[in-house]
Amino acid sequence: MLEIKNVTKTFGGLKALDDISLIAEKQEIRFIIGPNGAGKTTLFNIISGILPSSHGSVKLEGTELTGLNVSERALCGVGRTMQVTSLFNNFTVIENLTLAVQAKKSSYSIWWLADRKKGLHDETWAVLKKLGLDRIASKFVWELPHGDMRIVEIAIALAGNPKLILLDEPFSGMSLGEAKRMIEVIRSLKNEVTVLAIEHDMGVVMDLADRITVLDKGQVVAEGSPDEIRSNNQVKVLYLGE
């Protein structure tokens, strides 16, 4: 369970997040929607520790994350993808995965050759097979199409079994076929990990979400199941443009 309590973030005089509270149940798929500048990515940055919050706390399955830095939070089980794909482009897909798995196990040293560790090897392949990346395992990341890159980024965020995974606009820039694959990937995460995702494509959001939180001007405007959000008048005015 992810518990965000009274989180406020100010940049100078600007309140990017204003007293946000949010509870996501264990292993649910929660989508965060809202117009540009609503504070969605800022919220993600605070959960993953890239930005410190001005006020408030973040708790993941009973562990207090407030005050921990980015890498400590990652070891506590926070995985994340970025709005702009962020991978190790000069490494192959399997090497990216190996790097992700060895980080979680804190098992990297000068005495082991990176590509010869048995324990890491099995776990890496398990993640690759699960997301259907095994056929491109030995390709370099820079030679992959955009859609594959996005899925590799989810794969490295998933390595080491995180408790929470944050997906920042996973569908951005995807072709129709790629988006279909991404829908399957996100659906397969249900009942395995808590998913928090930012997305603009309402069709996808309604299709995948267990619950939806709507942000505007740094505040939670509405929260509920896809049906509740669809029929919420305030959301219609604000977001669906009616």
Binding site: S71, F88, T92, E95, Q102
Partner: protein, 317 residues
Amino acid sequence: MRKYSLHFLMESSFIIAGLILLSALIAPWLGPYTLFMGTQIMVCCILALSLDIIYGLGGLLSLAQGVFFGLGGYAAAIAIQNYNRTPIEALLLAIVIGATGALIIGSFAVRLGGPRFIVMTMIISLVIYFFAQSLRNITGGEDGIPLGRPVKLLFLGWQLSTSKPLDRYYIACGLAAVVYAFCRYLRRSSLGWAVIMAKDNPVRAELLGYNVYRLRLIAFIIAGSIAAVSGYLSCITCRHVSSLMFHWVVSANPLLWCLFGGIGTLVGSLIGASTLYLVEEIISSWIVYSEIVIGAGLVLVIIFLPQGLIGLLRFRK
């Protein structure tokens, strides 16, 4: 980690081993001056490798490698001269002193990162140089301290003495080969990958759970120890140390060698160091203003071969 470079580097390890073996075989027929140059080249190669570890793999341009070079040299000189230690013990001491120095300097400099790291290491290296200059009673200033008696090294029942140019050359080759092998192993190790990755994409590395600061500090300590090994080698082969070992030029030269040969490839730093050293020796015996010629050559390489000399070989396949 791109494929073509990996292939080339795999083969290059055999080429390097072959070259070292060849030079060891023909060494008995070489004159003392050639052997002296060969020995100095090995000192330069190790120093270049130390910068390639921290800059090429770790992405931090350190201008303080001369500090660790000097520390290693003086640690060895004092251990051998004042405390009558064996060369192996002196080597271990040099490594420990180099690593400790790097830990102290790195613990605050590495945190700065980027341009501020470069400036900080440069300032530290200048301060320590002036410090070494003024502590004449310990360092001997620019005149330095000569090592009184030659160092004797027993290697697999084979007695090597630093009073003989040939033996000095063999010691230098052996040490350089060991350091090079270590660097290559480091590059392939899981720690090495993590260091390279933290250079390529530090944000992603943090998000995966790596402590980027600690990775960079470890790389800085390893690079410092390697620079200290280079200083040690310089000390026992020249049988002399001086405060000039701390001079900023000693820190700046490895950067030129690495850029010339090809940064981040390990083998490139060896090629750069040997080539520039030889070119400088040869040209300076012909022309008075040899620096101008070498400088112009460097500018051309940097403009037309951004990957260094090694860039020429890579794409030919």
